[in-house]
């Protein structure tokens, strides 16, 4: 087999003169209309950051296509001039993944159509800018919902979910985005369209769809997405268990999993988080004197559900729970979940800035890692709030702080670094659902071998040989051998223009 042309071409990022940028803006406006190309610094401000505070990157311009044809025309125009771009959904990502440093930012928010709803087969084909919760609302009349439920689901988009392989509390039972997408039409960085996966039966050949999901915009842009819809469970029980100690709560989590019960969700919140939530407008009635609470949901057929509730209650009590209560009605259930889903927002009240972390450990390591995280927080004098998907071992240690206080900011950074290293030492990983983006780049060489990172680079290179789609994310550029072997002059230019893409 000969090397395909897509591999033979070497990446060559292109610095854009101001005159070139004017021409580009005019061309893009011809495609999408003047109103949908933004260049004024005031207009770009909103796009300088995403859901993760601490990073600001200014895009060259923002272009918002209104149709999939316009999207393709935009990407073709960018390909013609070899210009780097970043696709962006709602910008709620928590890893800096949708920041565009001098690149063109493509806003996908106007592409919100549901192209096909096939309730009998539990399938929906949608545009990438459709909001996650809007899809669930649309299929509600058919008794269906879209299962992945990140906390940002009222604003985040399906396209963004696909890019990040987003999770959420109910992924414990129902699986993450990967398990719910059956096909994606991808707009490759060269402007051509290709369909990955198959909505009409099984697929043969490489699981390119699986490779695409979670590629953080580095393989191209999803132009339409076919997802699987999940029947609403006929019965649900939502429980709240509160504990004297975090250790006891973590022990209860292990006991429930080991007992063979697969809850729909199994979430933990520690005292710091409970206080933040209860002091906010999202107050859910959590016990403020508890060291930790578990929010546990079981669902399915009505039969047998109360047996599971009884088993879970017994396991929590044995582990040291003070009380276990079951939500009496839908209103209480919604309130209990509201507190969990808005916990990050509630932390925002405590301090002007918030570090949101995301790491995973093997489930048996939860009690030990939570103790270690508490020790790290104490040693650095920072307040760590834990709110996380305990059933998956997916931690979210968050730190509210004041970024303008240089000393505090430094302590936060050190503490977070130690937390991540502790999770890696425990056999875990650096991100369970937020992605690598910019934020976790530095940990990648610690987590993966050089050969593994290079294989990732090569995979990306097949989809995006010029490395123009979301440059500088996921895999550090210095781990790509192709880049290492590139002429020094090019490496220098890439570094100078900030386009150190992977």
């Amino acid at each position: 087999m000969t090397t395909p042309a897509v591999l033979a071409r070497k990446a060559e990022p292109r610095a854009l003169s101001s005159a070139d940028a004017d021409v580009l803006a005019r061309d893009l406006a011809d495609i999408v209309g003047d109103r949908h190309v933004r260049r004024a610094p005031s207009a770009l401000l909103a796009y300088e950051s995403d859901g993760l505070p601490g990073y600001r990157r200014r895009p060259l311009m923002v272009v918002s296509p209104g149709t999939r044809d316009e999207l393709q025309a935009v990407v073709r125009r960018l390909a013609a001039s070899r210009i780097a771009y970043v696709p962006r959904g709602a910008g709620t990502g928590l890893s800096g993944g949708s920041l565009a440093d001098g690149a063109v930012l493509i806003g996908l928010n106007r592409l919100t159509a549901i192209l096909e709803l096939d309730p009998a087969n539990g399938l929906a084909r949608v545009e990438p800018g459709l909001v996650n919760a809007a899809l669930t609302r649309a299929c509600e009349p058919h008794g269906l919902h879209y299962a992945p439920d990140p906390s940002s689901q009222t604003v985040c988009t399906i396209g963004g979910n696909v890019a990040e392989n987003a999770g959420g509390p109910h992924c414990l039972k129902y699986g993450v985005t990967l398990n719910h997408v059956v096909a994606v039409t991808v707009l490759l960085p060269d402007g051509t369209l290709t369909t990955l996966g198959n909505a009409d039966g099984e697929s043969e050949g490489y699981d390119l769809l699986g490779a695409f999901i979670g590629s953080e915009g580095c393989f191209g842009t999803a132009s339409d997405i076919t997802v699987r819809l999940t029947p609403n469970p006929p019965a649900v029980r939502t429980m709240l268990a509160d504990f004297h100690s975090v250790y006891d709560a973590a022990t209860a989590v292990s006991a429930i999993i080991a007992a063979g019960i697969l809850p729909a969700a199994l979430e933990m919140m520690d005292a710091a988080t409970i206080h933040a939530v209860e002091a906010s407008v999202y107050a859910a009635g959590y016990p403020v004197d508890a060291a930790a609470i578990l929010l546990i949901e079981v669902d399915g057929l009505e039969a047998g559900l109360d047996v599971d509730v009884a088993t879970i209650t017994r396991l929590c009590t044995t582990a040291g729970a003070r009380a276990v209560r079951v939500a009496a009605d839908v209103a209480e259930r919604v309130r209990l979940w509201q507190g969990r889903k808005k916990a990050f927002g509630a932390m925002g009240r405590i301090a002007p800035h918030l570090v949101v972390q995301d790491a995973v450990v093997p489930r048996t390591k939860l009690p030990a890692i939570l103790a270690e995280i508490a020790e790290i927080g104490e040693r650095h004098g920072v307040r760590i709030c834990n709110v996380f998907h305990a059933g998956d071992g997916n931690l979210h240690p968050n730190i509210p702080y004041d970024a303008t206080d240089a000393d505090e900011a430094a302590r936060v950074e050190h503490a977070m670094g130690e937390v991540m290293h502790a999770c890696m030492r425990a056999g875990g990983t650096i991100t369970g659902e937020h992605g690598v983006g910019l934020d976790k780049l530095a940990y990648m060489p610690e987590l993966f071998t050089a050969d593994t990172l290079d294989a990732m680079c090569r995979l990306r290179g097949v989809f995006d040989p010029e490395r123009r789609s979301n440059p500088g994310k996921v895999v550090p550029v210095h781990s790509c051998r192709e880049w290492q072997m590139a002429p020094a002059v090019w490496r220098g230019r890439a570094a100078a223009s900030g386009r150190t893409d992977a």
Partner: protein, 414 residues
């Protein structure tokens, strides 16, 4: 399988490093390799261009098993049966039940993304594999994914190698997600209409009942006979969960018609998995689940023209699978299965959209080009192959993607 000999490598490699050494040596000598797992179960019947066997059956055993994590790390050559035994001792299971004898290896199951009836509720290998070690065709070793149940760090090499039939890398080690064994595991059979036209409405009626089965498989009368059951169309329903949940569903099914129970349910499923005769030809058709009855009817018409063909399917996944004895005249097989594909709207060429999909599991050599299109021939797939296995060393041609100048293909027996 009795007709497939154990590979007789002088010294089967027992470590990833040894596999890497063999792949590097093969690369230098330009010797294509045929990856051989257990060498017993997965008689893939897929044509591989004349290649030297690379045995991975020596990579065997448990690397790490912490039951409380519900994850296990194993060598890829470990037989599924051994995994089932080890996890059962802890009240857990690996919910992969591919068709074939359980002496087949977990590595082969993942490399071929093979599934069985449990896939309805438990997912396919791509949903179960958490991490893997593999030796690429370049001789490099990758350590992809991890050992935790949720992980989005880096590009997903795990999904890429799962179902790649070994053509990107030789999988040497796997980390897998386990499930706790349910308190009860009961299998119920219900008599289903023999008339294919009546299947659709009958399934629709069952679908409205409060059931959440672990497996829900329709078998035709020939398959039932092969399994030693009454020779009639049967529905096999596997109910798992706590006693109250299983009992409630059993009552629901009992009210739905002619029902029989199997306390030794696991044996029914084992006999379904191993029902096909040695070296039988096997085809799988799939479409959106609402088209299941149409696929079923077309498959039964095909079976009527093939002596000894047996059919089964998973309505919830829109999949119908049929096998025909090895002795079936190729012309008859080609005619029957071509007709089926046309009727259900299978795409006429790779990359063309089709209303249904046909995947051959095993065919007489001459029928591969007649009944299948080469897979993984799109630009992206070829690019990935070139990036991971530039010398086309690993199972070349297994996707039907033969190089024009290749020697006559021989049949792989991985």
């Amino acid at each position: 399988m009795p007709d497939v000999a154990e590979p007789r490598a002088a010294a089967a490699p027992t470590s990833t490093a040894e596999i890497a050494e063999l792949v590097r040596a093969a690369r230098e000598a330009h010797t294509p390799l045929r990856i051989v797992g257990g060498g017993r179960w997965l008689d893939a019947g897929r044509p591989v261009e004349g290649a030297h066997p690379l045995p991975v059956g020596g990579l065997r055993g448990i690397v790490e098993y912490v039951p409380g994590d519900l994850t296990i790390t194993v060598w890829a050559g470990t037989p599924l049966a051994e995994l089932h035994r080890v996890t059962r001792a802890e009240g857990q299971w690996l919910p992969l039940d591919p068709h074939g004898d359980p002496s087949g290896t977990v590595g082969a199951t993942v490399a071929t993304a093979s599934t069985g009836p449990l896939a309805l509720s438990m997912g396919t290998p791509r949903d179960v594999v958490l991490g893997l070690d593999a030796v690429l065709g370049t001789g490099e070793t990758i350590v992809a994914g991890g050992r935790v149940v949720k992980n989005v760090a880096g590009f997903d090499l795990v999904r890429l190698l799962t179902g790649a039939w070994g053509t990107l890398g030789v999988i040497t080690q796997l980390s897998l997600r386990l499930r706790a064994r349910p308190e009860m595991d009961l299998t119920v059979t219900a008599a289903a209409p023999d008339d294919a036209r009546a299947i659709g409405p009958w399934l629709t009626r069952l679908g409205a009942l409060p059931l959440a089965p672990a497996a829900f498989e329709l078998i035709d009368r020939r398959m039932a006979a092969r399994m030693g059951l009454d020779a009639r169309t049967l529905l096999l329903v596997r109910l798992t969960g706590n006693a109250a949940l299983v009992e409630a569903q059993r009552r629901v099914l009992a009210g739905a018609g002619d029902v029989e129970e199997f306390s030794a349910g696991a044996e029914v499923w084992r006999s379904l998995a191993t029902a096909e005769p040695a070296r039988a030809s096997c085809m799988r058709w799939s479409a959106r689940p609402t088209r299941f009855a149409e696929l079923w009817a077309a498959a039964l018409d095909a079976a009527a023209a093939i002596d000894g063909a047996a059919t089964h399917g998973t309505p919830g996944r829109g999949i119908v699978r049929q096998h025909a004895p090895a002795a079936t005249p190729p012309d008859a097989l080609a005619a029957a299965w071509t007709e089926t594909a046309t009727r259900i709207g299978v795409a006429r060429a790779e990359g063309q959209p089709g209303a249904a999909t046909a995947i051959a599991e095993r065919l007489p050599r001459a029928l591969w080009p007649v009944l299948t299109h080469p897979a993984a021939t799109d630009r992206i797939s070829c690019g990935i192959r070139a990036a991971f296995d530039p010398g086309r060393l690993l199972n070349p041609g297994i996707f039907g993607d033969h190089a024009d100048t290749s020697p006559e293909p021989e049949t792989v027996r991985g």
